[in-house]
Symmetry: C2
Subunit: 501 residues, 2 copies
């Protein structure tokens, strides 16, 4: 047991150190004077270096060997949490030591250049400025995949960083089932009369938006005693400690909905991290088990709760009280329809609940082809347009609004996109069970009683952190593996009523 | 030169790491959820440990040896900044390696207990709760002094941490000259009619105090583009980077003056750190050269500027505009007198400009006797009362308001107190020269033109950071070593008019 205790001590240092880095980043986005940015970057790089050295220290290898933990087995003699700890710690260590520090540094340097080139390319609507750097990023990503190793597809090695234990073949078959269902629903909605949301073109003072947002967050169970809400350009959630899970938001006085749903979304992320069990506190198990599960928690609150008619049955009267001049002539039902307006567009981050996953399928397919070499960077813009027309029926009028719209590729984040859509799918499958467990689900929402929902999530998902993998979580809860039919069924049921189709 | 470059790289890492720790501490005082305090302590301890390892790495010793830097000499072949760098880096390294990490840990643990016992003792007005812990703190301090080494008095080794190159014998002789002058002035003021400041018993809304405070800070030259002001229970200033020097303040709606002078004081500290020259940026030379000089910069603005009649000639009309109901019947002269009211009292932190140094002389003498063993902890309370009556003519009615009033001893900060009074003395001596350099000094204040003053401080003091020691600074500027006569002369001149004595 001495070796296991030592491993846990080392892991706890990494836990503390990572949260220190998270504070440096949080502060940079919230309160740091802008002119301090260069020194802050240096600071973060130094701390990352210290962290890397601690993560790759050979003592880990010795301790794993002493405990007979290797690529093939985790000994059975530990309890469940200890097994999970060893599994996750070993996975992290193996990945880290396979990647030489020099390669990581070169990659970071290229990412830094690549991001500035992407910004320029997007601004000037000129793909060729970014193209050579995208090629380099893809080369690096392939090199990393080769070093990390994979059995089926190099993409799997990249995906593993964000959605552990998942393979691209699994995602491909899920997305292949999802696509026709979405396509059919989108087609029918397109042919139905469009929802009018022009009553939202008003001025909604941000202080009032903030007051309403914090109330919603508090009532959904985000704990302000163990967190806080601040303003940033781009909203995010970050964990600085077991009792210190912070979220941020952004308000635009002309866009009430963006503020509302950003508040709910980030509080969903925050609630997940606040819900890790005390038994895994202070260890690497106190972490989201995958990006997809993390995204499921934010999107659950944002879409399945925050865009439910029963939720607004409770909150809409309050919203009208706060914004009487703007909303007094708008019915709850019209407001509900406006927050669920479906409109295929070229921009992913503006997409609604129905079309969103199509943006992801598009990116996933192109990423897969870029990494395997089936698609060259030169041919990417045309492939983007073709796939976009096929999946969404829309065609971007520029590179900037099309292939250059997202930061992810310039940031070297190949493998990240699919997790956004997986979140939607996990959710629908979880919620199916949740609704049979919480029989008065709709009544709870109507009465603003959100505690049973939060408690269900905590009990079934949050408390485990990464001790239970995403694939096991979905099986444990629903009794089957990931199945996109639940998501499709949920959308069909909801939008049939909204669009009367 | 390769060795010097390597030393500078190592030092830069320490610079970045220290600022990371400073952020952890700043955040704890400003925005961190209270419930995160235990984990934050763990984090800080971990980072301090990493810092300690970097500071005591044997590579420093090797590099100093290669460069022939030892206890006796710094080679002459470097430029001034490089010599200063080597001198300061060597001084830091020598001090660090002389103190075994185990001793530091034991001391920290004792400080932690000692502080909680001090809080309890103060609350219950029971010195005996704290006494055994104070004895331990003194034992540790003596041990540290022995390990660090000294030639005259063990206290010198402690003092060196806060006021480098200064010795207790020097401070003793300065204080011995200061005491009779202060005593005489205090006596005459006591016999004069007291100033009426009852017109300050009003409600001054804190948002308005903040508005006025930030304006003063901006105009004295604290750069908000490279810093920021936040609210904390106890005001402080901290540096997180060359372009990131933050200050905090505290407002009490019933105490206008406390907010005003805390704002000026902290902005003075901040301005010093913002003024380090670009040539020393990112190194250990970008640091206050001593606590006394740091305190001189805050007290210069707080007392010599912020309590000057010409300063209020400019600012008082603005203050009345902000608080018309509270101040419209109060003349500038009456306000000026109120901010300069002298009243011997038992509490150091409430003391005025005249009596303040007496509180320090009291503590310095007792510290010296405790460390040398001439005074035992058992006899400390009686000694406190006797010395307090002798120096200030007042007697505290409890331990809590007397010997237990300050946190410093429980925090293990023996050697720190004298720097507060040194700040006052440095100031008066600097200002004497400044006023002959800036011939229209009073007119500048009357017109609110503070730039010439800030520029003088930057040119003569700030830009050097710790490349020039406090003792050299005072000599370079004034042509003589520290002389308390300037301070006494300044006080005599000012208070003769105020109290008509």
């Amino acid at each position: 047991m001495k070796d296991l205790i030592k491993l846990k001590e080392l892991d706890h240092e990494i836990y503390l150190l990572s949260h220190g880095i998270a504070l440096l980043q949080w502060d940079q986005e919230t309160y740091m004077p802008e002119s301090a940015v260069n020194e802050r970057s240096e600071q973060i790089a130094l701390f990352e270096g210290i962290l890397h050295n601690k993560l790759t220290d050979s003592i880990w290898g010795e301790l794993f060997a002493n405990l007979s933990v290797d690529d093939h087995s985790i000994p059975e003699k530990f309890n469940n949490n200890d097994n999970a700890f060893l599994r996750e710690a070993y996975r992290r260590y193996r990945r880290k030591i396979k990647l030489p520090v020099e390669l990581i540094k070169e990659f970071s340097a290229e990412v830094s250049i690549s991001q500035s080139k992407w910004i320029k390319a997007k601004k000037e609507d000129n793909f060729s400025i970014f193209a050579p750097h995208l090629e380099k990023i893809i080369d690096f990503s392939r090199k990393i995949a080769d070093l990390v190793g994979y059995t089926e597809h190099p993409y799997d090695a990249l995906l593993d960083e964000y959605e552990p234990w998942m393979r691209s073949s699994g995602i491909k078959s899920v997305f292949d089932k999802l696509e026709p269902g979405l396509r059919s629903l989108i087609g029918r909605i397109k042919n139905a009369p469009q929802i009018d949301s022009s009553f939202l073109d008003h001025n909604f003072p941000v202080e009032l938006q903030n007051q309403f947002g914090k109330k919603m967050q508090k009532e959904m169970g985000y704990d302000f005693e163990r967190g806080r809400l601040d303003l940033t350009v781009h909203p995010f959630s970050t964990t600085l400690g077991y009792n210190d899970v912070r979220i941020t938001t952004h308000y635009n006085k002309n866009d009430l909905l963006s503020g509302i749903f950003s508040n709910i979304h980030e509080a969903g992320h925050g609630q997940y991290e606040q819900g890790f069990g005390e038994d895994i506190q202070g260890s690497l198990l106190a972490n989201g088990t995958s990006m997809g599960i993390h995204e499921s928690q934010s999107r659950f609150w944002e879409n399945l709760i925050g865009r439910d008619i029963n939720y607004w049955a409770n909150y809409y009267p309050e919203l009208v009280k706060i914004f009487p001049d703007q909303l007094k002539y708008v019915s709850m039902k019209d407001f509900y329809k406006a927050v669920n307006k479906v409109e295929p567009s070229v921009i992913r981050i503006e997409a609604d609940e129905v079309t969103y996953s199509m943006h992801i399928i598009l990116r996933f397919r192109l990423e897969l082809a870029l990494i395997s070499g089936d698609l060259s960077v030169k041919d990417l813009p045309d492939a983007w347009v073709a796939e976009s027309e096929k999946l969404l029926g829309v065609k971007s009028d520029s590179y900037s609004n099309g292939v250059l719209q997202d930061i992810h590729w310039s940031a070297g984040l190949f493998g990240y996109f699919p997790t956004y859509a997986l979140g939607n799918l996990y959710n629908a499958q979880f919620t199916n069970i949740m609704k049979s467990d919480i029989t008065d689900f709709n009544l709870c929402l109507q009465k603003g009683e959100l505690a049973p929902i939060k408690n269900w999530l905590r009990e079934k998902i949050h408390r485990f952190g990464s001790s239970v993998s995403a694939t096991d979580l979905i099986k444990n809860i629903s009794g089957e593996s990931l199945n996109p039919d639940y998501f499709l069924k949920y959308l069909e049921g909801k939008y049939k009523t909204i669009y009367d189709i």
